[in-house]
């Protein structure tokens, strides 16, 4: 594990940390969750004083929605429940910066929703949340800033809008008929014909030329629509052939 140094944070206890593979990380500890033992243990190790630690532990259980799971042994917890215990232990001592390693992996849709809400809540409380994910829509929805890491190297970092605008935006044209004008191919358009309508994706800069070409052929234009560039487009463009992974920051 590399040492992490964060500017302006001299004291490490203001960092919360959670790794994935939650089953492995928590099962062997013969600690009970229901009375907050495991949270108290980690809380004490983080320097939370012993008077407040048990109150904080039960607050955390409530917050991550495990209050009702009393009397269930840790080893019988589902993956999602363990994930939530992991998150609870990471934020129990009120860190200003929290690291999550793939916090939503292996969760059902409800679980993902809850973890997302939790992260938004932390953000609203003014905390910095680092998390890694390869689900780009999560990053796009949650993050203020994202960093793309590929094969251990930083490929780009910035606000989502900044990154996506660096990739030229495109326009979708739809017209009636099955004819695709030859001039359109020359503009670098991707064209598809389905039933009696045809569709083309072209760079925004060639929009006028494309419309001219369609008019020349007297084709009946149905719609002209700008296509929003997603993080995924950016990602695919940036590292086309390679397998990918993203690190993001909310």
């Amino acid at each position: 594990m590399a040492a992490i140094e964060i500017q302006g944070l001299e004291k490490t206890y203001s960092v919360g940390f959670w790794r994935k593979k939650p089953k492995l990380a928590l099962r062997p500890l013969n600690l009970k969750v229901e009375d907050g033992e495991i949270l108290e243990y980690y809380g004490r190790l983080s320097g939370v004083d012993s008077k407040t630690v048990s109150r904080k532990a039960s607050e955390m259980l409530e917050r991550v929605g495990l209050k009702d799971s009393a009397n269930v042994q840790l080893r019988k917890f589902s993956k999602g429940m363990l994930q939530r215990v992991g998150i609870a232990q990471a934020i129990l001592h009120g860190p200003r910066v929290v690291f999550f390693d793939e916090p939503m992996s292996g969760l059902d849709p409800m679980g993902r929703r809850e973890v997302r809400d939790l992260m938004v809540e932390l953000k609203r409380e003014g905390k910095t949340v680092f998390f890694s994910t390869h689900i780009l829509s999560d990053a796009e929805a949650l993050c203020d800033r994202v960093a793309i890491v590929h094969k251990g190297e930083l490929q780009g970092v910035g606000a989502v809008a900044e990154l996506t605008s660096s990739v030229g935006s495109r326009v979708e044209l739809i017209w009636r008929g099955t004819i695709v004008p030859a001039a359109l191919q020359g503009l670098g358009a991707e064209c598809h014909v389905t039933g009696d309508t045809a569709r083309a994706l072209i760079p925004e800069s060639s929009q006028d030329a494309a419309l001219d070409a369609l008019r020349r052929e007297r084709l009946h234009l149905v719609s002209v629509m700008p296509v929003r560039t997603s993080l995924e487009d950016y990602f695919v463009q940036k590292l086309r052939p390679a397998q990918t992974m993203a690190g993001s920051r909310a």
Partner: protein, 258 residues
């Protein structure tokens, strides 16, 4: 710092208890009861001898097995199950982790031995119907056994800080056996010559000296233990355990935990 060491130690103790380690006390109780009843019936003079010999030997062996088999997993299991990362992502230093683990296991063994000691004295009372002053030396024997546990615990921690659990168990157990003959080893070293004398002497002084800590048959024969030996043995065990623990910290501190 001390509160973190204490927390890790306490947690280690709690895990050991939850792992049903203390169930060995049931086996021990059965053994002592059986021995007391049987010996009480068949022999007249040697009941006390047999109860002390058997009792202290059992305390020692049960404890050794616990020390070795829990000790080898203390570090490696936490790495394997990745709980170590969660602990070390707290403001916990690696040395605090090692030291905490040591005190946790040592505490477990001390609690276990104290329970067993009660059993030994109960059996002793059962066979001889009264206590005598020589029984005090049995306490010294028990105290020496606990000192042995401190050494073995620190050694297993040392081994488990760099090798696999199985190998650590083998190392620790062989050192226990060799250490039990360490006085012979030093005698043997003094009989050799030349460079092998140096090597043998170095090895003989490096292995833990369990033979001086084993006074079971002596106290069983109601012999006294000199106060000097008690002082020296205490100091020796503390220094040796600290040495092994420093070694464990040294290795663990430099170990790559990716």
């Amino acid at each position: 710092m001390s509160s973190r060491v204490f927390n890790i130690a306490f947690n280690t103790f709690r895990e050991a208890v939850r792992d049903r380690v203390l169930y060995n006390l049931v086996a021990f109780a059965l053994l002592m009861t059986g021995a007391a009843i049987l010996v009480g019936q068949i022999s007249i003079d040697i009941e006390r001898l047999v109860v002390v010999n058997l009792g202290l030997t059992a305390v020692s062996l049960f404890g050794m097995v616990i020390a070795i088999f829990i000790g080898i997993g203390l570090v490696s299991k936490e790495i394997e199950k990745r709980t170590l990362y969660t602990v070390l992502s707290r403001p916990v230093r690696r040395w605090e982790f090692i030291v905490g683990k040591f005190f946790g296991l040592a505490g477990t063994l001390i609690v276990n031995s104290v329970c067993m000691a009660v059993g030994v004295f109960a059996a002793l009372f059962y066979v001889s119907r009264h206590f005598q002053s020589a029984d005090g030396w049995v306490l010294v024997g028990l105290y020496f056994i606990i000192l042995q546990f401190l050494i073995v615990t620190s050694l297993t921690l040392l081994f488990s800080s760099f090798s696999s659990p199985l190998l650590s168990a083998v190392f620790a157990f062989s050192l226990f056996v060799i250490g039990s003959f360490s006085e012979d080893l030093r005698g043997f070293a003094s009989m050799t010559r030349g460079i092998s004398k140096w090597l043998a002497t170095a090895a003989a002084y490096l292995v833990p000296n369990f033979s001086a800590l084993n006074v079971i048959s002596s106290v069983a024969h109601q012999n006294s233990v000199s106060g000097q030996l008690i002082v020296y043995n205490t100091a020796y065990a503390l220094f040796y355990a600290t040495m092994a623990l420093s070694g464990a910290v040294l290795i663990f501190e430099r170990r790559n935990l990716k």
